[in-house]
């Protein structure tokens, strides 16, 4: 059984059919890329699967269990993590706190215990701080351990989002354009980071425009165009698909 199974997924915003009748499935442990021209519905697809939007039609199953229309926090409980194309970092917090927020569901969130600063809370928080530091090292941000998020450069914030997502100890992580806006050197570093994440056993679903990175990392690729599925397969299959070539080169097939 695939980890994630999407069938006939659609969402309409008024008359705009942002995602139309898209079906695909993702096996556990692979790197799966979603590509397509701007406006093809890639981020919308992510928003649907991670619960930010509710689908108009169709079914999303995680481990055979229907998750379509469930709220983001319910999906987080089921091990679904994500990052954002336009950064969603809490600039009012320190870098390490941003990572610690990722572990929210694994902590005792009791208000009264927190207000009384019970030892059980502080002990667990100290452990978590260590864990978060470890994650920051993993994504290559150890030098920002004591930094405020609003003092960090863009490229570092992109990785900080990945660290926060990893703090959830997710089963599947959705990365929305992790290399967008990065220089070539940073792109290579993120490429390596995504590989490391995948090697740690987490299924990676990736939206990315950098084709080199996509071809290099992905086991399978889904191509979207105007909200519809254009092709799906291995990098080689997709690259040779005439529809894909037409969509990317703008030819009328």
């Amino acid at each position: 059984m695939p980890l994630l199974d999407v069938t006939n997924l659609s969402i309409h915003f008024g008359g705009v059919k942002a995602v139309q009748d898209v079906s695909f499935s993702i096996d556990a442990g692979i790197v799966y890329a979603v590509i397509g021209p701007n406006g093809a519905g890639k981020t919308t697809l992510f928003n649907l699967i991670t619960g930010v939007y509710k689908p108009t039609h169709g079914e999303i199953r995680l481990d055979g269990e229907s998750i379509g229309g469930k709220s983001p926090d319910e999906l987080a409980r089921r091990g679904v993590a994500r990052t954002f194309q336009n950064l969603q970092i809490c600039m009012n917090m320190s870098a390490i706190e941003n990572v610690m927020v990722g572990a929210h569901l694994r902590l005792d969130r009791n208000l009264v215990k927190a207000a009384l600063r019970l030892p059980s809370i502080t002990r667990r928080d100290a452990e978590l701080r260590g864990e978060a530091l470890e994650l920051m090292r993993f994504v290559g941000l150890e030098k920002y351990a004591g930094a405020r998020a609003d003092s960090m450069p863009y490229g570092a914030l992109k990785r900080l989002e990945i660290a926060r997502a990893l703090a959830m100890k997710p089963r599947v992580i959705f990365l929305d354009e992790p290399a967008a806006g990065l220089n070539p050197k940073e792109t290579i570093e993120v490429d390596e980071l995504v590989r490391k994440v995948a090697d740690s056993g987490i299924t990676v679903v990736l939206v990315e425009h950098d084709m080199k990175m996509v071809m290099n990392l992905s086991d399978r690729i889904l191509v979207l165009d105007y909200g519809k599925k254009l092709a799906e397969g291995t990098g080689e299959e997709v690259r040779r698909n005439p529809d894909v070539i037409a969509a990317y080169l703008g030819a009328h097939a």
Partner: protein, 310 residues
Amino acid sequence: MQKRAYFGLYIVIAILALLPLVLPNSFYMDLAIRMAINAVIVLGLNLLIGFAGQISLGHAGFLGIGAYASAVLPTHFGWHPLLAMGAGAAATGLLAALVARPIFKLKGNYLAMATLGLGIILNIALRNEATWTGGPDGMPVPAFGLFGFELSSDKHWYWVVAILLSVSVWASLNLIDSPFGRALRALHGSEVASRVVGVDVVRYKVAIFVLSAVFASLMGSITAHYVGFVTPNLADFFHSIELVTMVVIGGMASVYGSLVGAVLLTALPQALATFEGWETVVFGAILMICMIFLPKGLVPTLAAKFGKGE
């Protein structure tokens, strides 16, 4: 960083402990008590406004529930003041929880309008239920006694509110640096990011709204017993605005900013009394100057200037 935050708590406690020794007369004692009462309310409100990023323009209404619970229940029904205070807080918590769910589906201006409306409704209720509340004239509040000991002198009240304030500062610092507090600050920083890491955003907004409302209600009860008289003005719109102004002037998302804001804005009208009728104008001008030159509030701006951070 955290050690430094708690260091401030010791300073607060030291100031509160030494203050009675230097206050020259009962006028200043009274002022100090009212500053401390406001500080506790503003701490709670800052958790909601500064840390969680949600506005409330109706908090004086909650203050009013607490104050009138302490006035009405002992007077008309012979309840023990402590029980009345508890009942007021419970009723406030319940009401806040009840209205919070629909209210927090709203954002920005709509949220401000909804809380504003709530405060005004509460105020109108207090004004119109004259049989119970004495209407616009208000009503006297019985003295607060516990185990045969009556809180009568300013000195007693001073120590009560000083202890309450110290505990509130400590609890606020604790809360902010906890999983609960991080979730609150995160939903302020990025609501969608906090949702996808599993924060049930509405639940947290409701929780902090209820908590800050209960803070206000309890301090309303304390105010009622301390002053010995309540009027609906305690619960009116202008008082709500005053409380929000204390948060903003002192510094959003700053525990010590809440204290500074409460102290300054409680003292300022007294200091400006010499302007005879023009004090509101001077008051407004000072607020405007503060907002233009210190938009983040006093404490955060000064902390940044001296490179310390809180």
